[in-house]
Amino acid sequence: MLLQLHNVFKWVNSGGQRIFLLKDINLQVQQGEFISIMGPSGSGKSTLLNVIGMLDGFDEGEYQFLDESVHNLKEKHRANLYKEYIGFVFQSYHLLDELTVKENLEMPLLYKKFKGSERKAMVADMLDRFNIVGKKDLFPAQLSGGQQQLVGIARALISNPKLILADEPTGNLNSKQGEEIMGLFKQLNEEGVTIIQVTHSEKNADYGSRIINLLDGRMI
C-alpha cells in the first residue's frame, strides 16, 4: 500500500462557525493505481489533493504514507517526505517564467544533492523522453499550452517520484492537447508510476482505474 487516509476531517472557522472542507475521508491507494477525483466546483477536490501531497494539513484523522504516519510528523520531515516521493502537476503549469525549459527541468535537482554531470544527464534524458530537445533553450512564454504542460510533467517526473498528483492537468488545454497529456499519463502509469488526478471530464477519468466522487467535502 502506498498511502491511506483514515477518518480525515479538515475545517476552517469562520464567524464562529466551523466550515468543513473535508469530511470523514477514508481512502486507500495501492502502488500503480491511476485514480481520478471528480466532483463539482468547490467540492474539495484540490483540498484533498493538497492534503495527500502534504502541502496542506488536516484537523482530524490519520494519514499513513508508505511507513510513515504523516499526521505525527514535523513540518520539516513532512516536507522531506513529499520532496522525495511526490511530483506535482498543475492546471496552470507553474513553470518559472525567467528560466528556460532546460533550467526548469533542472531546478528540482538543484535542491537535492546531485552533481552537475548527473543533473545534465537526467535533464537530457527527460528532454529525449518527452521529445522536446529542440525546445530546451526556450522560455515558457515561447511555448504553447500543451508544450508547457509537457514540461510541467517532465519536471514532476525528473526526480523519479512514486506518486504524481495532478490538479486538472488539462484544464487549460484544448481537447487534442488534453488527449496527448492523458496518453502520456496512461503510459507513465503502465511504467509503474502511481497517479492521482483531479478532472472534470468523464473522458479523462476513463483513463484511470478508479474514480472518487466528492460532494461538499464528502466521498460519495
Partner: protein, 794 residues
Amino acid sequence: MFRNYIRIAWRNLLKRKVFTAINILGLAIGFGSSILIYLFLSYHLSFDQFHNNPDRIYRMVTEEHRDLIDYEASVPPAFSKAFRENYEYAEKVAKVVVQYGSIIDTETNGDIRKFKEDVAFIEEDFFKIFNFPLLDGSNNISLSEPNTAVITEEFAEKMFGSTLVVGKTFVLENDKAIKITGVLQNLPSTTFLKEQIFVSFVNLEDFFEFAASESWGGITSNLQCYSLLKPNQNVESIEDALLALPKEHRPDSKNKHVYKLQPLSDMHFNPLYGGIDPVLLWVFGIIGAFLLAIACINFINISTAQAFYRSKEIGVRKVLGSFKAHLFWQFLSETFVISLFAVMLGILFAALFLPSLNNLFELELSIQSLLTIEFFGFLLLVLASVAFLSGSYPGILMSRIVPVLALKGKLSHSDTGGNTTRKVLVVAQFAISIALIAATLIISRQIEYATNSDLGFDKESIVMVEVPVDLEPIQYEALKDRLQRIPNVENITFCLSSPGGSENNWGTSIKYNNRPENEEFSIQAKIGDEHFIETFDLTLVAGRNFFKSDSITEVVVNEKFGEKVGVTSPDELLGKTIEVNGASIKATIVGVVGDFHDVSFAEEIQPAFIAGNPNWYGEIGLKINRVNTKETLEKIEQHWSEAFSGYIFDYRFLDERVADEYEAEQRYLSLSKVFSALAILIGCLGLYGLILFFVGLRTKEIGIRKVLGSNVANILALFTMDFFKLILIAGILATPIAWYLMEQWLQGYAYRTEIHWWIFALAIVSIMVITLITISYQTLKVAVTSPVKSLRTE
C-alpha cells in the same frame, strides 16, 4: 548552486528594470557618499602618523587661568630653553616661530621676483624631533648658523624653477640675505606643519624681538614649542613639575599659567588648541551610515513589496523541493549582485564629486589614495553588511511564504508580510530627511543672524590694507594726507586691527581706578588713531573721543568694561584712570562706546579699550564710497606702494573678513545642504518605487472607484494621505531629536538664534510637497486612465 543563484538573480533583475535601477541608483549614492566620507575621515585620522616616535612627541601648551580659562597652543618664549636645560625629561626640545606674510625676494639671472610667504624660524632640533627628510632622505639639517635656511622642494620650484638651489640666497623682509643649505622633500598634506621656508632661529630677533627673547612675560600664538620625551615618561608628573615655572617666573601675574603637554596625536583633534572638532568627524561618519541606511531601506521596501509578485515563483520552488535556506540564499545573492553594481557606480560617483569635496574643505584628496588594503577591506565590509542588511529581511519574508496559498493565487498583498515593517522604515527615512532639513534651516539662520545682525560697528565699504613696517609719525601723516585726497575715500584710520574679524587680537592685564590689584579679566587693546571710532562708526555713549597725542594719555572703553569693573552707568567711568599691560600704559578714560562684536558670535564680547599709539599700527582702514571702487582701489595701491616700497599690496573688505569668521559654519551649511539633498533624493527614489508598486496593486480598485464616481483628486488623495500620515509621524519623531541636537550646537554660541517650532513645520511641509511631486506622476497616470481599460485586464 551559487552560479545558478547568480544567473537567476541576473534575469530577475533584468525583468524588473525600473526597480533594479532604483535600487542600484539609491545604493550607489549611498556607497558614493560613504567612499567620500571614508576618504575624508582617513585623511584626518592619518595626520602626523609618519614620525619616528609619534607617541613620545608632545606640544607644550598653556592654560591661562584668569576669570575664565584660555587655552593657548603656545608657551612663553623662555619655556623652550628652560625645559631643555633645567629638566631631565626631554631628549629634544625645539621652538618654532612663524612670521606670517613675510616678504621674500629672489634673483635668478637678473630677474627679481617677490613672494609673500609664511616663514618659520626654528630651533635646530626641530628636524630631529619630526620626520621631514631632505631630498636625499637624510635629516642632516643644521640651522645653527645665522642667515641659513632650508626650503621645500615645492617652494624651491616656485622660487627658482629648480630644486638644485643649495647655496643660493634669497632676501627676507627686504633686509637679510639668507642662504639655502638644504631642500626638504615636499611635506605631506597630513601634517600640522604648513610652512615651506625654515630659517635659523638666530635670525628671529631682527623680526620679532619678543618671540626671540627669553621672556616669561606673555604668550604669542606665533610660537610653538615641541618636545621629544625620553622613553617611558609620566606626563602627569612632568606637568606637576612644570607648575614651579610660573611660580618662579611670573609670581605676581593675575594671568596664572599652567603648562601642559599635548600629545602629537591630540593636536589635530583638539579644538581647544586649534584642532578640528572630532564631533565633525563623528557627524560625518553617522551621516554616511544614515545615507546607506536610507538606501538599504529603499531596497528592503521595494523587495518586500515585490515578494507579493514573486510568491508564485517561491511557491513553485518550495513544492519542487526548495528549503527555506535555499530561498534565503537565493535572495541574498540577488541583493549581492545589485550591491556589487551599486558599489561600482558608487566609486564612479565618488570620483566625480571628489573635486567638490576638495573644494569645500580646501583639501587635495585623490581617488588614487584609495588603492590601499584598508580601503578594500572597508569596501568589502560595507558591501557585505549592506547586502546582508537589505537582503536578509525580505529573504526571510519570502522563504516564509506558504506554497499552497501562493499557488492558488490566493495570497493577498498583506499575507506576504512586511507591511508594518515597510511603514516603520518609511517613517525612519522621512524622519532622517526632516531632521536634516531642519538642521540646514537652523544653521543658515544662525549664519544669517551672525552676519546680518548689528555688530556694533560698520563693516560695509571698509577696505583694510596692511602696514607692513612701522613708519615715523610724520610719514603716517603724509600717507594719510595722500590717501585722504583720493576722491571716494571718506574716512581713514590707522590701527592695530579692525573691530570684527581681527587678525591681531591683543589681550592684556588691566588695573582700574588705582585699585591695588590687577583685575581678574584681561582687556582687549584696540589700538587706533583718533579716527578709529568715526571710521568704524562705533557709538559713543558717554564722554568724548580721545584727542590726538604722541603717547597714550586718554582712552575710550566699551560698555562691557564698565560691566566687568562693576560700574552701572557709563558716565561714572569718565575721568577714571586705568593702567594697562603692567604699567606700560597709564591713561584717563574720556569716553565710552557701545559694545561691538570684535570676535565671532561664538564668543562673548570682551572688555576693550581704544587708544592711539603709532608704534603699534598694523593696518589701515579706509571707509570708501562704493562708486568706481576699482579706480579707488588702484589709487590706494599707488599711494601705499610709494610709502611701503618693496612690499606687496593686498586688501580685504571688512565685511568679507567678518564673513570669514564663519567659514566653518558655511561649511556645515554646505554639507547639511548636500546631505539633505542626498537623503531626499534617495528617499524619493524609494518612494517612486513604492508608489509604482502600490499603483500596480490597486489598478483594479481604482477602476472600480472611478466607475462609482471618484474623480482624479479623490484618487490622488487616496494615495497621498497614507504617506502624509507617515510623514507626520516621522516629523513628530524627528522634531525633538533634531531640536535637542541643534540646541546643543547653538549652545556653542554666545549670541545665537532661537529654534522655533515653525522650522520643523516647514521641514515637514517641504517633505510633504516633495512626496506629492514624487508620487503624483504615477498616481495621476492611473487616475486618468479609462476605468474600462483597467477592469478589462481581469
